[in-house]
Symmetry: C2
Subunit: 114 residues, 2 copies
Amino acid sequence: MRPLFHPALEDIRPEAILYALSDPERAAIYAQLAGAAGGGTCSALGQLGDRVIPKSSLSNHFKVLRESGLILSERQGVEMRNQTRFAELDERFPGLIKAILIAYGQIPEQPKAG
Amino acid sequence: MRPLFHPALEDIRPEAILYALSDPERAAIYAQLAGAAGGGTCSALGQLGDRVIPKSSLSNHFKVLRESGLILSERQGVEMRNQTRFAELDERFPGLIKAILIAYGQIPEQPKAG
DNA sequence: TCCGTAGTTCAGAAATTCGGAACTGTTGAT
DNA sequence: ATCAACAGTTCCGAATTTCTGAACTACGGA
């Protein structure tokens, strides 16, 4: 298996982020990861609502998320642990990811501070 | 010519917004419109950098922007005036569009209030 | 070694995008 | 009224991308 490619923070392109999250299935996967503490595996996230995502499609979704810079994947034994790169990304593109998750209704809207 | 379709505010989908702006050419067009006071025409925005966008492609870009809910187009004489629906959209998806424009470097990063 | 599980790669079908050419709709001139 | 010029749309074929079942690779346990 080819080693997994992860872009360096400075190589992450906004168009890749938007493209990756413009697919509701991928956005839902990402949102799950953003919520899950441990780092989700592919199979754990393979069922969204009533549809079972075929595993080749799922693998591709993770690849798109990974190569866009949204997530970090590393093999751990027989499975793959995935976690978001939220903190890094929020530094590079302030407010972007949070605004997207809010737009999708995956996290409640933030009240203004103060 | 078919009448131009514009989605109602409540029908606008985040995936459509992200998809529309995941194309750097469309994002640049949108950013120009967001900056231009008057409402830009297709031909006025048909040249970005060194590339001349073919007019059928340009027409399609505007269609995608329009049908995603990002812009409002209306015929004015022989040409088409386009303007953003920024205010509306910002109400529906708070912070989203601004964060995207910032990510693309099209507007300077906003300082935190206070 | 052999088996089961997790995920990747391959390959062909289906869907999408791109853009040149033809077309529509509007204005202004004769 | 007719014509020409112009802005933008639609059509359609070529190229690209996406989707997913099937085959495959990688790891761990017995």
